[in-house]
Amino acid sequence: MNLHSIVKKIDQALNFNTVSAHCDIPCKIYDPITAQLAVLTMIRMVDLLGELEGKQPLSLNDQAQFNRLVAQKEEHGLKVKEEIRVIWGDYIKEPQLAQFPELHELTHTIMLTSSKAKQQIDKTVTLDLLDQVNRFAEIFWETKGVKTFKATCPYPPAVELVYPKL
């Protein structure tokens, strides 16, 4: 019997005070929908930027709109990365990795594609990103034993999203 076991026995009898040494508050609230919605925003921004491309020359208002759209695309690209990184870093552990060995590579791919989607105004890249984030969502729900289904979101950009069947 080691020292820890002995102290544990004394603890059971005397009930020592406990202190929390946790990191972030372990709220256990994780949901990939935030990342999925951020990708939808990026796709929508690319669509709206495409509409501006048809308008030449750009008025002052159009130029202001252009700046806002690019800024939002940039911001939501960062959001995709942040949301996926938190689920990957805090929720994904050994059991989930054993079940889905592709998780590390998929997460890394999402990071790279998000950067590419931020750098360019290219709808194909944002749609690739959505495929990857949808796959991540599928895996996430499967690790929780929740079935998923695909449906077209009922608002622009009207693309296919993975939803949990709760």
Binding site: H4, V7, N17, T18, V19, A21, C23, D24, G89, D90
Partner: protein
């Protein structure tokens, strides 16, 4: 506080100390107004007399989130831990 302290480990804390004895980098048990009884490391003492805390893990609550801690809220100092 991972990797310094892991879940389920025991620590021996010293309660009878003067606050001027507290030093940077000491691990202390704190009665936090929002987070309850927590264990963190002292980062620094500011010019207003408040302590700022840090966790050892990169994902720890930030000093900003924990906020300034009055000396009275620091209840004890970790002397040693008993690992599993």
């Amino acid at each position: 506080m991972s990797p310094t302290l892991d879940d389920g480990e025991y620590g021996c804390f010293f309660c009878y100390f003067f606050h001027y004895e507290l030093k940077r980098k000491q691990i202390v048990a704190v009665d936090h107004p929002h987070f309850g009884r927590i264990v963190k490391r002292i980062s620094f003492l500011d010019s207003q007399g408040y302590y700022w805390l840090l966790g050892d893990n990169p994902n720890s609550l930030s000093s900003d989130k924990m906020g300034p801690i009055s000396p009275q809220r620091i209840k004890s100092i970790l002397l040693f831990k008993i690992a599993k």
